[in-house]
C-alpha cells in the first residue's frame, strides 16, 4: 500500500525538507501534495485522496489548528490522521491539538528519525496495516544520507 501525503507549511524549503525526510524514512509514497496554508490544504483535500496530513501550526491565511478543526468537522476528511510538525512547543497548545483530534506532533527542530517514528505509528494505527519500508528506497541518493 502506498500513501498519499499532504504537507502544509508556508515555507517551501521546509516542505522540501519534510518530503525528503519522508522519502528517506522509506514510507511507501503514492503522491506527495504540498500546501502553503490550511486553505490550500482544504482545496487539495476536496480534490484528491489523501491518507495523512503533515501540517505546521503557524501559517498565514489559515493556520494548522483551524485546518485541524475543519478536517475533524468534515465527514469525508475526519478519517485522515493529521500530524503537526511545528515550532509550537507549549504543552498547553499540544493538549489542545490532541483534544481536537491531532494524531501526533513533532517539534521543530526535529531529527529525521522522529518523523519516521510517528509517521509509521500513525499510518499503522489508522490503516491497520503493517507499513513496510522498501529495502532500497528508490528516491534517496547517497548525498541525501547526509541529512
Amino acid at each position: 500500500m502506498a500513501f498519499n501525503i499532504l504537507v502544509a507549511d508556508d515555507s517551501a524549503t521546509m516542505r522540501a525538507v519534510i518530503k525528503k525526510t519522508v522519502e528517506m524514512a522509506g514510507v511507501p509514497v503514492g503522491s506527495f501534495f504540498e500546501a502553503a496554508h490550511g486553505k490550500e490544504a482544504l482545496e487539495i483535500l476536496e480534490n484528491d485522496w489523501i491518507d495523512v496530513i503533515l501540517s505546521d501550526i503557524n501559517m498565514p491565511v489559515m493556520g494548522g489548528m483551524e485546518l485541524l478543526r475543519e478536517v475533524a468537522g468534515n465527514d469525508d476528511f475526519r478519517r485522515i490522521p493529521l500530524i503537526f510538525i511545528t515550532t509550537e512547543s507549549s504543552e498547553a497548545r499540544m493538549d489542545e491539538a490532541r483534544r481536537l483530534g491531532a494524531a501526533g506532533y513533532v517539534r521543530k527542530p526535529f531529527q529525521p528519525e522522529s518523523i519516521k517514528k510517528i509517521l509509521y505509528e500513525v499510518l499503522e494505527k489508522a490503516y491497520q496495516h503493517k507499513v513496510e519500508a522498501p529495502s532500497q528506497p528508490a528516491a534517496v541518493s547517497e548525498d541525501d544520507m547526509d541529512f
Binding site: S11, T13, T87, A92, P109
Partner: protein, 151 residues
C-alpha cells in the same frame, strides 16, 4: 538582561542551527571593537515578533555565505542550486524555530503567540551599529558572524 536569559539564547540558537542546519555557532561573550566588525559580505535580516503576556521581537542578521551554507545543509542541495528565495526562506525558518524553541522554555504555558517571520536582503549592514544595541548577541561561524538582536 540577566545572565540566565543570555545563556538560554546562546544555547537555543546553537541547538537549532546544529540540529537542523549542521552548523556550529560559537557564542562570542566579548564583542570586538568596531574595526574588527567590518564585513564585506551582504547580510540577510530575518525578524519574528511574539505577542502575549510577554512580547518581543527577535531579529537575526546572517551573512549570505552563512545563509547559503545552512540552506545547502537544510535541503541537501548543491551550492549552484541555491536561490536567494531559498536563503530567505531558510533564514525565516531558522528564526521561527529558534524563537519558537526559546518561547517553549520561557513561556511553558504557551500564552505567547509567534507571528509569521519575515526576511529581506539588506543593501547595507553595519556590525558596529548592531553591536551598540543592548539586546545584541554575537556568534562566530565558519561562514561569517551571525547576530541575534532581542528587542
Amino acid at each position: 538582561m540577566d545572565g540566565q536569559f543570555r545563556s538560554l539564547i546562546f544555547q537555543t540558537f546553537g541547538e537549532v542551527f546544529e540540529t537542523m542546519f549542521f552548523t556550529f555557532l560559537e557564542p562570542v561573550d566579548e564583542v570586538p571593537g568596531p574595526e574588527a566588525l567590518v564585513c564585506d559580505d551582504t547580510y540577510i535580516r530575518a525578524d519574528i515578533v511574539y505577542q502575549g503576556p510577554q512580547s518581543g521581537r527577535f531579529t537575526i542578521y546572517l551573512p549570505k555565505r552563512l545563509a547559503r551554507n545552512v540552506t545547502m545543509n537544510f535541503l541537501g542541495a548543491d551550492e549552484a542550486d541555491i536561490s536567494d528565495e531559498q536563503m530567505l526562506d531558510t533564514a525565516k525558518e531558522a528564526t521561527n524555530m529558534a524563537v519558537g524553541s526559546l518561547l517553549g522554555k520561557i513561556d511553558p504555558a504557551g500564552e505567547s503567540k509567534l507571528n509569521i517571520p519575515e526576511a529581506t536582503i539588506l543593501d547595507q549592514f553595519s556590525g558596529a551599529e548592531i553591536a551598540s544595541e543592548p539586546g545584541a548577541f554575537l556568534f562566530d561561524t565558519d561562514f561569517g558572524r551571525l547576530w541575534v538582536v532581542f528587542s
